[in-house]
């Protein structure tokens, strides 16, 4: 059968339904666990995940070859100097003791002291977060602002030239490596046009506008590939929803295609979109390493990168732990927002 482009997708859903046994159709029970239990369970698995993650992180990172002390002291250092530094850094204690110290410290908000920088890790991370977090939020905002309208537009014009153009663009967006894109952005906008500085971060004390300005190119470099993904998700989620029976019901009430999409489609399509936004946020927080490198931003990613090469293990461990924590928390929050969007998850009892 040749593919037929359908305006209201319910026909194919319809045709599909035919093959579903009549008597199982009526039984699609929500069967969703009750809210309280749901979140208690989520919370418990969140805690277990974090503890397991901390083991994995600590013991995997500790097997990395290389010694922070000899790295700091360079090639002319004498062995006794290195030993002195190792004991000063607390590196001569056993692994398990160090793990316990690290983990209990973290519970109290103390992430330890960086080996190389000799400053509290918590402080360093907090400083870096002032760059990474706004950057992630900025990029996410950009990507959402671009992607959602594009996805909605494409879904509304399914199969028409507008859809094909948007989808073509997203295919390209997905395929472009973001570091390469960043290189090109710098070449065009910083070096040739000189609209933006080539990188660096002026700091928030220079004023929010100046700070945002200096984050713009990196945010764009991060946002566009993400936007491409998000737009695709938005479109396909909407198309799935547009194929649902209740859209047909809405149309039969007298809503136009567009009204049905806005009033009934969007909110239902939001769940997959929220999931992706959550994933992207965590990705942006951690995944900006290369972009931070290209734009020499003092962000978290670069901190880990430097810490890994300096074998500043405690920093690596703490940042990775923080990132894992962030991902798990974001997922948890996304789950919570599901309940806002979808009453089926709210439950009564």
């Amino acid at each position: 059968m040749p593919p037929i482009q359908l305006e209201i997708g319910n026909f194919s859903a319809f045709a599909r339904d035919r093959w579903r046994p009549l008597w199982t159709r009526a039984r699609r029970p929500p069967n969703l666990p009750l809210m309280g239990r749901y979140f208690a369970k989520r919370l418990l698995s969140l805690i277990v995940s974090l503890v397991v993650a901390s083991w994995v992180i600590f013991f995997v990172i500790e097997i990395a070859p290389g010694d922070p002390a000899s790295f700091m002291l360079g090639i002319n250092a004498q062995p006794d100097t290195i030993a002195a530094l190792r004991s000063e850094l607390g590196l001569d204690e056993g692994k398990v003791t160090r793990y316990i110290n690290w983990f209990t410290g973290m519970l109290q908000g103390d992430f330890g002291t960086s080996y190389t920088y000799r400053t509290p890790v918590a402080q360093m991370v907090a400083d870096r977060l002032w760059v990474s977090l706004p950057l992630a939020i900025y990029a996410l905002t950009l990507s959402t602002l671009i992607a959602l309208p594009a996805g909605i537009y494409a879904a509304a014009r399914r199969g028409k030239s507008g859809d094909i153009a948007v989808m073509g663009a997203t295919q390209l967006g997905v395929a472009v490596p973001n570091f390469w894109f960043a290189m090109m952005l710098v070449l065009v906008f910083a070096i040739n046009l000189r609209w933006f500085s080539a990188g660096g971060f002026v700091g928030w004390e220079a004023g929010p506008l100046a700070a945002l300005h200096s984050l713009t190119l990196p945010a764009i470099a991060l946002a566009l590939p993400q936007a491409a993904i998000l737009a695709r998700v938005m479109r396909s989620a909407l198309l799935d929803i547009l194929g649902e029976d209740f859209i047909r019901t809405a149309r039969a009430k007298g809503l136009s295609q567009r009204q049905a999409l806005w009033r009934h489609g969007l909110r239902n399509a939001l769940i997959p979109v929220l999931t992706i936004i959550g994933l992207q946020f965590s990705f942006l927080l951690a995944g900006a390493i290369i972009i931070e490198q290209v734009f020499y931003l003092p962000g978290l990613g670069r901190l880990v990168f430097q810490a890994i090469s300096a074998r500043d293990l405690i920093v690596v461990e703490s940042v990775v732990m923080l990132l894992v924590f962030a991902v798990i928390m974001v997922n948890f929050l996304v789950d919570l927002t599901y309940a806002l969007v979808d009453p089926r998850l709210r439950g009564r009892g």
Binding site: R16, M183, F283
Partner: protein, 271 residues
């Protein structure tokens, strides 16, 4: 959408062809340095120009395709090889501690920042193509486990599975005989997508110097080499960049096309 399947297929085939051809022929020896001839723009002798060591970029792109394909392919292989059985097992024992354990472990892997871990892995094991494969492969496992489990769960609800159970077949046998062939389409589609992501990941790792090591050419490393020379010799950045984009584009289009073509939702009932 046979159009995207066609376009994607052609692009992917081209890359594959270039990689295969490079085993028997490249315009120049891709390892031969010719420093006096460095940084030449594309010309009659060197169709895509030369790099900072005077190597022929076309030859490097061809051999680099080999690296990209090999790394991504093996990484997908690892992901499938481990992820699919895990997903099948989880679905077969739905709701059991095994299922719960596998899914939680999946979530955990997902929660780790992949790039940071990839950098760590290469820091621990040393940079190199093999370790890049491991780093990329690890993150493919949960993807395949999840996709397989999701599809398998709905298959386990189908009556033909019930029929097989009535015939007394065990979970392992049913998974192999009935579930696997029916999730194959989905896995092929996901495989193409992971494959393209693998190519991007390899490029990223090589770009930060953690992928394939010289003298094995790699697109990502070519980009890394090119980065300071963009303004001198833009072709050094444009050529590998376009190679990556076209390959990933091709694979994605192919994946999309395949998905439509093999639409799992339309299976089963339709001729």
């Amino acid at each position: 959408m046979t159009r995207s399947l066609f376009l994607g297929g052609v692009l992917s085939a081209l890359v594959l062809l270039a990689a295969l051809l490079s085993f028997i022929w490249t315009p120049y020896d891709h390892t031969a340095l010719n420093i006096p001839a460095k940084l030449q723009a594309p010309n009659a002798e060197h169709w895509l120009g030369t790099d900072h060591f005077g190597r022929d970029i076309l030859s490097m792109i061809m051999v680099g395709a080999r690296t990209s394909i090999a790394v991504a392919l093996v990484a997908v292989g690892i992901g499938m090889g481990l992820g699919v059985p895990l997903g099948l097992a989880a679905a077969a024992k739905r709701g059991s501690w095994l299922d719960e354990g596998i899914m939680r472990a999946n979530d955990l892997v997902f929660a780790f920042p992949s790039l940071v871990i990839a950098i760590l892995i290469t820091a621990i094991l040393g940079a190199g193509a093999i370790n890049a494969i491991i780093a990329i492969g690890i993150f493919n496992i949960p993807v395949f486990a999840r996709v397989t489990r999701g599809a398998a769960l709905s298959l386990w609800q189908r009556e033909f599975i019930l029929a097989a159970r009535v015939a007394g077949k065990g979970a392992a046998r049913i998974s192999a005989e009935h579930i696997l062939p029916n999730v194959a389409n989905l896995l092929i589609v996901q495989g193409t997508i992971q494959f393209s992501l693998g190519i991007l990941a390899e490029a990223g790792l090589s770009y930060v110097g953690l992928g394939a090591q010289p003298p094995v050419p790699s697109w990502g490393r070519m980009l890394a080499d090119a980065q300071t020379m963009v303004s001198l010799a833009p072709h050094m950045a444009l050529v590998p960049g376009c190679a990556i984009i076209l390959t990933v584009l091709g694979l994605n289009l192919m994946g999309d096309g395949l998905r439509d073509w093999l639409d799992p939702k339309l299976q089963g009932g339709r001729a």
